[in-house]
């Protein structure tokens, strides 16, 4: 009689029927994330390669052509045009056709031959900071390398040579980096919307009011509503992981069962968030808008796109409140770094706490706002 989960079985039964009846929504919510995944997985490449480059070679001798060959072979620059004056060089950059302009002055090879320092002008479009940064780094490295080569012509070896080795994602493949994070965002998206809608629909129909006159307890109601969508979210996760492994060829270094297990608290937290949203919204349109709220912080403050280290100190604590932060650590940890439970249990625990907290707040809000209204 004092079972605080009273009614959970009945609500689960009913909710499962709703899901089955509304196959369209189910199909849509399962395929949309996959569609996004294909779009982003194939389209986004964070490795900056083949920057459009325009060249004004005023010198034209062998030394200048060798230098340009080094630029072309770097894979960073892609020469789209050779021009014959400064104006055209500038113009192509302003027009946005090229992001980098290389000007080799008329006396370049002469000065080199006379053992004097030669200068090469690199014009860089600074409107995209990551492209500009890459252009500066690579062009500086080419210049340095060229200088050393000329200075050390006789002795032949460098005194110190750095040999960087990339762990876990040796080819710097973008899908490897992007998709584990995207998983978190997609799951959040689907589950929050589905739960928020399922409850707001009952508010609109007036059936929620009816339920509260029955012995169903708030926790029983909310949990019964949450569980079917937990299964859907889990199924979605399996779809995403399958596509990630076999279509995008992202190797999974850790234990996939551990990943599945640690996904449960994340789904629980995301679903509870949806329920909290539904306690605030009184119409489906309102729920729709509110459900978008958690998406942006989850994208920008979780480390999904920008490393968390770049968040200003004042806003940094926010990242601890976002479930996606922990889950992205879990997905990247297991998929890319082969982490195990000893590395990730804290993230799992944090998700459990956030989920339980959200659900409790939601249940209290339901009790106070919906019943008492």
């Amino acid at each position: 009689m004092n079972n605080i989960f009273r009614g959970v079985g009945a609500v689960f039964y009913k909710e499962a029927l709703h899901v089955r009846r509304d196959a369209g929504t189910l199909f849509f919510s399962l395929t949309m994330p996959l569609l996004q995944m294909f779009l982003l997985g194939f389209a986004i490449d964070t490795n900056i390669r083949q920057i459009n480059t325009v060249v004004y070679n005023a010198d034209g001798h062998r030394e200048s052509r060798e230098l340009l060959d080094r630029f072309r072979n770097s894979d960073t620059f892609h020469v789209i045009k050779y021009v014959e004056n400064d104006h055209d060089l500038n113009d192509l950059i302003i027009a946005g056709k090229a992001r980098v302009g290389i000007k080799i002055p008329v006396d370049y090879s002469d000065r080199l031959l006379h053992q004097m320092g030669a200068q090469v002008l690199i014009l860089i479009d600074g409107s995209d900071s990551s492209v500009a940064g890459q252009a500066i780094n690579v062009s500086t490295a080419i210049g340095l390398d060229e200088s050393l080569r000329r200075a050390l012509q006789s002795s032949g070896t460098f005194a110190v040579e750095m040999r960087p080795k990339l762990l876990f994602n040796p080819d710097s493949r973008s899908p490897n980096f992007f998709l584990p994070g995207l998983t978190a965002i997609m799951l959040l998206n689907v589950t929050t919307f589905l739960t928020a809608f399922s409850i707001v629909r009952e508010k609109e129909r007036g059936t929620l009011e009816q339920l509260f006159v029955t012995p169903v307890r708030p926790f029983g109601l909310l949990l019964g509503k949450l569980l079917p969508y937990l299964f859907i979210g889990f199924f979605e996760l399996c779809l995403i992981l399958t596509a990630m492994r076999f279509i995008f060829l992202v190797p999974i270094h850790g234990n996939v069962f551990l990943l599945a297990l640690l996904s449960l608290p994340y789904l629980f937290a995301a679903l509870s968030l949806g329920i909290l949203i539904s306690s605030k919204a009184s119409s489906q349109a309102e729920a729709m808008q509110l459900a978008f709220l958690p998406i942006l912080p989850s994208v920008f403050f979780s480390g999904y796109i920008f490393p968390r280290e770049t968040i200003p100190a004042l806003l940094y604590p926010i990242s601890y409140l976002i479930p996606a932060t922990y889950y992205i650590n879990i997905t990247r940890g297991i998929i890319l770094r082969g982490a195990d439970i000893t590395h990730l249990w804290k993230d799992g625990l944090a998700l459990c706490i956030i989920g339980a907290l959200l659900l409790t707040i939601a249940a209290r809000r339901f009790h106070n706002k919906v019943i008492m209204a």
Binding site: R6, A10, Y13, K14, E209, Q210, P215, V216, I371
Partner: protein, 327 residues
Amino acid sequence: MSDLPASANGAAIVAENLVRKFGNFVAVNGVSFRVEKGEIFGFLGPNGSGKTTVIKMLTGLLPLSGGNAFVEGLDVRSSAEEVRERIGYMSQNFSLYNDLTVLENLTFYGRIYSLPAERLKRRIDQIVDANGLGPYVTRLAGKLSGGWKQRLALGCAMLHEPKLLFLDEPTAGIDPVARRQLWDLLFELSAQGITFFVTTHYMDEAERCSHVAYIYYGKLIADGTPNTLRELPEVQPPGTMRIEITTPEVTRALRSARELSGIRSATIFGQSIHALIEDSLSLDDLRQRLQQKNIAVAEIRPLAPSLEDVFVELTYKHQAELEAKRE
């Protein structure tokens, strides 16, 4: 339930001085009434007068700001959960799940009350039979017409065999045949000892209740059987009489009647006029005086006050008291 006052014994509902405040606003102000088992209790009042608030208090959804409420012998303050186990509730929009079939709706509500599988099956069969839902069990609730929806909703509210049912405007928006069938069913069930708490806006439905109460902006201003209410002195002041004048020219007749001395009030009812006249004015006198004004009078006969008359008179009296208090 040892702390139950003697007054609550045997009654389906006992409300004692119910008060509900929302901030400074007093939505329910000292409402008391008693509903005996097996009664059909009609609860009337204009929209926003506190009907729903009272239902919410009696079903344990809203805490009481003051007073006591006992439902089926249980104190609502301390045993809201148990109260909800024993009552049924049907809201005016029937609260069915349109994308679930008739059978699924029934099964869902049965499971909510934790009916064991066998009893659930037996109850569903009984409800389907009693309401003639047989041909529709696999139909989606959303595809049913208003009357069938209402029967299904009533069935859902009765699955767990409650002894007390709250019906919030059960006949709003359904056709007259379905309306009459519902009332026939209510009478049948009340004969079996089931109590009904019914809110309605239809005066003819109020007339069918065995006990009616009228709430007017938080105050209960009428409470009794329809017949005792009709005999209240406020409704039927001593030395007066209600009559019905049937005439083909109601509008002109009304204007003339209001000018006659001895007529306290008059109002049009279809092809006739209902008037409250003083005993000093005889029916023959009245007929003559109307005919003098060239008004054809088909019939004049004494009339018992309707419940609408009752509520109108009591509302006037209540308003007059309120204004007197203000001055």
